[in-house]
């Protein structure tokens, strides 16, 4: 059993490394397909008035005139030895750019995740236990949350709470209050699929025999929810949370831009528009690592939440 688990863990780790490397190579190739490069694009601004020959000499300094595969091999070699290089746009060390941006994004994503989970549980609970009309309204909320674009929520919150109620200032987007509103912006669309999955699980579990037995023992609905339904309903939600981490990282781009926060999302957005390959490579690799790690953790947590998973895992591993 232990060797089986070890093999399983090793396979998963190898898969994780393969995913990260593939993401790295794919990003490199996609950026290489785009016309131009970071240096040429900025120096070709007609305002510079530089000749093509002058531009090419600077391009050569950055090694961007080499064949794509050679550039890829060099880049991959540097990445594997832990060297992230320098941004082509700002010439600053990539490690510094990402290191500066990461805490802000992690704070935002973690707060958003907590808010999203609380929001989803509240919606699911209400949808399940409130009287018919209210339950119907709550059941339609996830669809509404999903259909309102992230930036609209952000702009409305800024308009209302920053400019009219003065709860926070847009010039200090890293303050606790501003972070809270940014997190709410990010959490709202993310909470929608969570709530939907939770509602469906609750519906399913509450129809099971054990729930019927619990009710017949005289347990009220609140106790039934807390003591019996939450745990089995949480399993698909845990899987969903792991997938949502990707959405949080993606949504952070827009939320950070709207609130003027500097973070990983902003770094990625700038790197994409500026074709800043070293920065983008590092950011994609980091995101892939986070995403793979979170999903791995979710796989490990699932058996703890629901013993049935453990049995299946062991059989198939």
């Amino acid at each position: 059993m232990t060797s089986q688990y070890k093999r399983y863990a090793l396979t998963r780790a190898a898969q994780a490394i393969a995913v990260v490397l593939l993401a790295y190579v794919l990003t490199f190739l996609v950026i290489s397909v785009l016309p131009g490069d970071s240096i040429t694009n900025s120096l070709r601004d007609p305002q510079h008035g530089l000749s093509e020959e002058e531009i090419q000499r600077i391009v050569a300094f950055y090694g961007l005139d080499k064949p794509v595969l050679v550039q890829l091999a060099l880049s991959l070699g540097r990445f594997l030895t832990g060297e992230l290089g320098f941004s082509l746009q700002s010439n600053l060390p990539v490690a510094q750019l990402i290191g500066d941006a990461l805490p802000s994004t992690l704070g935002l994503a973690a707060s958003a995740l907590v808010i999203a989970v609380v929001l989803a549980v509240a919606i699911a609970y209400g949808a399940h236990y409130l009287p018919g009309k209210w339950a119907a309204v709550l059941r339609s909320i996830p669809a509404l949350f999903l259909s309102v674009p992230n930036f609209v929520i952000g702009l409305v919150l800024i308009e209302l709470f920053a400019f009219r109620l003065h709860s926070f200032t847009t010039t200090d987007p890293n303050s606790a209050a501003a972070t809270l509103f940014a997190a709410i912006t990010l959490a709202i669309p993310v909470s929608a699929p969570l709530a939907e999955v939770l509602i469906a699980s609750l519906d399913h579990e509450s129809r099971q025999d054990y729930a019927l037995v619990a009710r017949s023992r005289g347990l009220n609905e609140a106790s039934l929810f807390v003591r019996h339904l939450v745990k089995p309903s949480a399993l698909p939600t845990v899987t969903m949370v792991a997938l949502i981490v990707g959405e949080l990282l993606g949504g952070a781009v827009i939320t950070e831009t709207t609130f003027g926060r500097d973070g990983l999302g902003t770094v990625v957005q700038k790197a994409v528009t500026g074709e800043d390959q070293p920065v983008l490579q590092a950011a994609v690799a980091l995101s892939a690592i986070v995403f793979v790690a979170v999903n791995l953790i979710a796989d490990l947590v699932s058996p703890l939440v629901d013993p049935r998973v453990k049995v299946r895992t062991e059989v198939h591993a």
Partner: protein
């Protein structure tokens, strides 16, 4: 570049800002007129300047001319010469200069006692190091030259004593002194210039001699400048040479245009860079100042490829020239703060003349030109000849975002005279590829401080940029360009520049639209004394906060 998502976003952002503006007005906002009793300047105070990004960093050779980074560079560095909004040159760090040997030699006499913010002297040796960097760059270190510097005939610079620099050229360089006022030619400490580019990217290593110095910064977030108490060498043309009035300027990155505008409108910051043109009027009504400075250079318009279909025909070029209603563009896309073009160079360039009749909106004349050339109206309203439709593809200039709306309107206007315009919107990277493919019309934006620059771009003579793809095929254009480049006195050069403008416009080589405003400044009513230089940057050196 302008996906439906971004457009929708811009629209919603606009709606949000307009709503806010309305709310503020309804609430009886505290804004007062900025023109009322400006009072006497006072020292002290801080301003926050909101800007959409400082993405390209602090390697001066790459970003000193940037619309964004250029704002900060202008506060921490000085130039040898000051160029005002009308293109007039006046002394700055060079307190006087001599032009010798038919503009082949120049002697610069420097102000004494000027220091960089690290205390080292800004002397003749430092100026020589800067001149060499502007003229040649250092490609082996990834440092480019300054594009507009007259490098091809630059022979060298030497310090003859601690405050005198002699600069030599192999042929007349009438534009040299003007170039010293260009935003690419900022004076930095020789120590900074010698650093590898990665080290230059660190803003705290950028040592200038300007009225402000860097106090602290966090890349992509905020940049705090503080005044230098010992600064005493400002340009006399600004009427003030001592230390800056403001204590600090904080540049704060806020990407979203509507958030920037609303933050200033609600009094949480003093200046916002680049607001939506459509919001200017209501902001002004609330007492805000909106600076729309014009830079010296070419107007917003198109270089025409004379070898590509269909602009290889003179009647087609002229028909496009007369088929565009520039006034409608100005009224629809912009506001009255934008000036109509009178030629293909901006109105504040001293040599700019009024040749607007060469490109007046005359749709009937345009139609007749096309009729006479055999282009007959076909079934869908577009003209054809020998089975070929009169059409071309146009790409808006991504370096000036408002050009997308402009070009949409142009497509509609040219449809009225039977010319089909296909729009292809691309981003910055795609635009370089478009330029390389030499489309019939290529939209450009280019500043310069001396009209001599024009001579270097029109033909392929002397490694020129060959804007119209004529090579050296148009003798009259060759002669006019050569005459401008080799002129050794300004009066005769101005006369030739006039002839050149008339000829280029009549031939439909350049199709001007309107005068270009690339930088807009939304300024709180309490900020006074902001002035603008000839490169359309705001000077906050002279700014102060009114009680």
């Amino acid at each position: 570049m302008h996906s439906p998502e971004i457009r929708r976003r811009a629209f919603l952002a606009g709606v949000s800002a307009i709503t806010l503006t309305g709310l503020l007005t309804a609430c009886g906002g505290t804004a007062t007129s900025s023109t009322a009793n400006p009072g006497t300047p006072v020292d002290g105070g801080n301003i926050t300047f909101l800007i959409q990004g400082y993405d390209t960093g602090w390697v001066s050779s790459k970003t000193s001319i940037s619309s964004y980074e250029g704002n900060l560079w202008g506060q921490i560095t000085d130039k040898l010469v000051y160029v005002d909004e009308k293109g007039a040159l006046s002394p700055w760090i060079a307190e006087s200069w001599e032009e010798l040997n038919g503009a082949r030699e120049f002697v610069l006499h420097l102000k004494k006692g000027v220091t960089f913010s690290d205390g080292t002297p800004l002397d003749a040796a430092a100026v020589v190091a800067n001149l060499n960097a502007w003229a040649k760059g250092d490609p082996a270190r990834g440092v480019s030259k300054v594009g507009l510097f007259p490098s091809s005939n630059f022979a060298g610079a030497e310090a003859t004593d601690a405050s005198t620099v002699k600069v030599s050229f192999s042929s007349p360089a009438l534009g040299f002194i003007a170039t010293l006022g260009y935003h690419g030619c900022i004076l930095l400490s020789p120590k900074t210039l010698a650093l590898p580019v990665e080290a230059q990217a660190d803003l705290s290593q950028e040592i200038g001699s300007g009225p402000f110095k860097v106090k602290s910064w966090k890349q992509g977030d905020s940049y705090v400048l503080e005044k230098r108490a010992d600064y005493n060498w400002g340009p006399a043309a600004l009427g003030h040479t001592g230390p800056a009035r403001l204590d600090t300027i904080t540049y704060k990155v806020i990407k979203d245009t509507s958030v920037r505008t609303s933050t200033v409108a609600s009094g949480q910051a003093e200046v916002a860079f680049n607001v939506e043109p459509q919001e200017i009027e209501s902001l002004k009504e609330q007492g805000f100042t909106v600076g729309t400075p014009r830079y010296l250079g070419f107007v917003d318009g198109f270089q025409v490829n004379t070898q590509a279909f269909p602009t290889n025909e003179l009647p087609v070029r002229q028909a496009i020239q007369h088929g565009i209603d520039r006034e409608e563009i100005r009224k629809t896309v912009y506001t009255d703060d934008w000036d109509a073009a009178t030629t293909f160079i901006q109105g504040n360039v001293p040599e700019a003349g009024d040749y607007s009749s060469s490109f007046a909106y005359e749709p009937d004349r345009a139609k007749k030109l096309l009729d006479d050339a055999g282009w007959k109206e076909g079934s869908e309203g577009y003209r054809t000849r020998d089975g070929k439709t009169l059409e071309f593809t146009l790409s808006p200039n991504p370096y000036v975002p408002s050009t997308a709306a402009e070009d949409e309107l142009i497509a509609q206007q040219l449809k009225r005279i039977g010319v089909k315009v296909n729009l292809k919107v691309v981003d910055v990277a795609g635009y370089a590829a478009i330029q390389a493919s030499r489309p019939p019309l290529f939209q450009t934006s280019r500043s310069f401080v001396d009209v001599g620059t024009v001579a270097g771009v029109l033909t392929s003579q002397n490694n020129g940029e060959n804007w119209f793809n004529l090579g050296t095929g148009d003798q009259k254009l060759n002669d006019l360009s050569t005459a401008i480049a080799s002129a050794s006195d300004r009066e005769s050069r101005a006369k030739i520049a006039g002839e050149l403008q008339q000829y280029v416009l009549e031939q439909g080589y350049f199709i001007p639209l309107n005068q270009l405003v690339q930088r807009l400044y939304l300024i709180s009513p309490k900020v006074q004394g902001v002035s603008y230089n000839g490169l359309a940057y705001a000077n906050f050196y002279t700014a102060w906060i009114s009680g």
